[in-house]
Amino acid sequence: MGPLYTVSNKCALAVVLAFLALQVHRAATAPVSTGEAYLYDRFVRPATREVLAAGLPDRDVLYSLLEKRSVGLLHVSPFSVRLPSLLFGILALFAVWRLAMRGFKTAWGGVILALAAATSWAGGWFVKADGTGAAMALLVCAVWLAWERRYLNLIGICLGLSIAAKVGFWLPALFLALAILWYWKQWWEWIDRVAIPASVVVVILLAVPASHAGAPAENPPQLAGGQTAHLRSALDALRADAGTKPIRIATVPSAEPIVNFYRAQHRANNWQRALLAGSAGHFDYYLIPSGDSVRAGELVYRDADFAVVRAAL
């Protein structure tokens, strides 16, 4: 490797830090999406025993565990549920930097690092509370370690953790493992340092959740970015209108996890968990798409996407 603290590297570091600051700001302020709220509501909020009893398939097991820890430390907020992703983003940039410094001349290494930071900002993988960013970061780490041939056991562990972070990454992880075998050309070393650690990590993290995931997967429809912002405004209006009186809220599948996330974030203990419109029982408020016919009651809030209706007594 060439000298580390050249002018170009310092410039690249400044760019990276700027993008990181933007990522942190985005993680703290962007409204949670349906997927993020769903992961929190179904796999992070309940006790482990309840999660296993529900039998829902969790495709982001490692991320759920880290999010549980983060939420336990910092309470529920958009930032706390995204914090593990942010940290994995930093890990990914570190691995890219090490790869770039090894594979390219010093000046180009800095440029590649800055490009990686910009790409991760544009992709938004490290400001989403799901396992995608973590899985990507761990794969990049595995590439770096395999290239440097250092901490060999960690290569397999990274591949296994990547699958545990996002089950859908099993194929990229498998291809990467085979590529490492092709690069090393040492069959037994690959078995001992990559295949066995990866298998063990996958079994340790996924065996129990996978064996309990007997229920069909739920796929709530996702809201677009603008819709989640409108939903947050609708919830603010609902909260102001309801005050501290106990209420029951009915809503649509795309909004239900977000309403429950909002309830946990603002410790709205007077709210019962939101249910889907059409469920049995009386509801005090309806949070529905503004295009739906307004139910009998008083309109509390309405924008382009959502309406809040207070049910008639």
Partner: protein, 226 residues
């Protein structure tokens, strides 16, 4: 329950590269033959030590992995942890009985908490004369009951009595003859759980069966065959 670490058993095949591993796998294969004839987990137990050693040999060249697997197994097999993920009826160590081990709790109290049938011990001892045989539809904790018990599904004689009693209860006829089949088999008493198929009919038609109730405890009734 033998613990989730044994899901890694396929990795034990990697021990084939080691002479000791080949011997261990061969021994494990031989001891696992009963498991092919009966798929209950307990039939795997004789083979597990060999397979566990083979797994250890297979992972020996992966630094840090064996301690990780050991900790994983120990954590997931801890009684309190196990209860969060395994079936409530799964056979397992449910707690660490420190009070029982220190004899702060008497033996009879400890056994009564863990073995439901222990409640029958005194009732049987007082109602059934020594040397008498009892017929039961379900298996019993015979280690604690000082009488011979003929369990329905455990012998051809038991099956014959069980079928006769169940058929009579279902047909609502031939009850006395069915009871005499039990009596001719040397069983002077019946041990019937409330959930057994004949329980309700037996309780409502004791005279037709030719039986009398001698004790009732813990959801189980003891009848004497007249």
């Amino acid at each position: 329950m033998i613990g989730p670490a044994f899901l890694l058993l396929p990795l034990a095949l990697l021990a084939l590269r080691n002479p000791h591993g080949r011997k261990l796998l061969a021994a494990g294969a031989i001891y696992s033959i009963p498991a092919f004839l009966n798929i209950e987990v307990r039939f795997l137990v004789p083979a597990l030590p060999f397979f566990a050693l083979a797994m250890g040999l297979a992972m020996a060249n992966s630094p840090g992995i064996l301690p990780a697997v050991t900790l994983f197994q120990a954590f997931l097999c801890w009684p309190q942890v196990m209860s969060s993920y395994c079936d409530p009826n799964a056979w397992r160590i449910r707690d660490i009985p420190i009070l029982g081990a220190l004899r702060s709790e008497s033996e009879s109290q400890f056994i009564a908490r863990h073995v439901g049938d222990y409640a029958l011990k005194d009732a049987i001892a007082s109602a059934v004369p020594a040397g008498s045989r009892i017929f039961s539809f379900a298996g019993r904790a015979q280690a604690y009951i000082d009488r011979d018990i003929v369990v329905g599904y455990e012998s051809s004689q038991g099956l014959r009595i069980q079928e006769a009693l169940e058929q009579a209860a279902e047909a609502h006829s031939g009850r006395r003859q069915a009871a005499l089949i039990a009596k001719s088999g040397g069983c002077g008493f019946l041990l019937v759980n409330d959930a057994d198929a004949v329980a309700q009919d037996l309780n409502q038609n004791m005279s037709k069966w030719g039986v009398s109730k001698v004790a009732e405890t813990n959801g189980t009734t003891i009848y004497r065959l007249e």
